[in-house]
Amino acid sequence: MTLGLIGRKIGMTQIFSEEGEAIPVTVIQAGPCTVIAKKTLEKHGYTALQVGFGRQKESRLILPLRGQFKKAGVEPCNILRELRVDDNAAFEIGQKITVELFSVGEKIAVTGRSKGRGFAGVVKRWGFRGGRETHGSMFHRAPGSIGSSAYPSRVFKGRKLPGHYGDANVTVRNVKVVDVRPEEALILVKGSIPGSRRGMVLLKKLNHS
């Protein structure tokens, strides 16, 4: 069962623990998420919860979505996601999932869309070391040799080369929850998470915790 929450990354700061340690934290506006629909085994072939986050003007919705929100009887949301759960009988349509889903000290998974870096070279994209910048070196950030000659007369698949980097879905697991603030719907996790500020993130419970 992977229950989760949709949230928005607010930014990073640093707080002090009781022992006096400085902890780097990311602040996330998480939830409340409304259950919009339930997917059932009989009707859809799998069980899941459809949850929404944020608010959207009704006039901005396409008609099919407008109908779905009306049927659920909830305020229109601008972000919809499905959460695969084994048993969704405990949830009602219109029910709010709040940040209290997570507890302090718990390890969670955070999914976000990483910052786009455009067409990146091998140093940034794959961590190649590159050559030296000075002392007559003419080899700076180039990829170098990409294979042998007569045999195999081609470049092997999977060769690390320049290309588009970032703007991909990235999941970080075992992110520690430092603080949960239900009244402001905020959650603080240790360290960094993928994506830009104000970017959408999905917080999920870890199965094996």
Binding site: I10, T13, I15, F16, G20, A22, Q29, L188
Partner: protein
């Protein structure tokens, strides 16, 4: 943005003794040893203050048994019990890195007269 400021507000320490680069300070650091807590004093010259809100730090330099020792303290750390200003120095710059190359008599600063 507002949420971050709010969180930081809770961790700000109020009433920190004001001090500047060039001042000689006594920093009282609480140290946990097992379940006992004691206070250790680090006395030296402030050679740098980094102003960054909650993440502000300052560097204290002292000569310990003939060896220069620098320690960087987070300004708002709860580990810092208190900061005492022993002496105020008259300096014309905010980063006193030149002190690292000076030894003995040359490594003295003029004392600022308190008005």
């Amino acid at each position: 943005m507002k949420a971050i400021e709010q969180i930081e507000q809770e961790h700000f320490k109020m009433g920190i003794t004001p001090f500047k680069s060039g001042d000689t300070v006594r920093v009282h650091v609480s140290i946990k040893e097992g379940d006992k807590e004691r206070i250790q004093v680090f006395e030296g010259l402030v050679i740098r203050k980094r102003r960054a809100g909650l993440r502000s730090t300052f560097t204290v330099r002292k000569i310990s048994y003939g060896i220069g020792v620098e320690r960087i303290f987070p300004l708002h750390s709860p580990v810092l019990d208190k900061i005492e200003v022993v002496q105020r120095g008259r300096v014309r710059r905010s980063r006193l890195y030149f002190m690292r190359t000076l030894k003995g008599k040359a490594a003295r600063l003029k004392i600022k007269r308190l008005v």
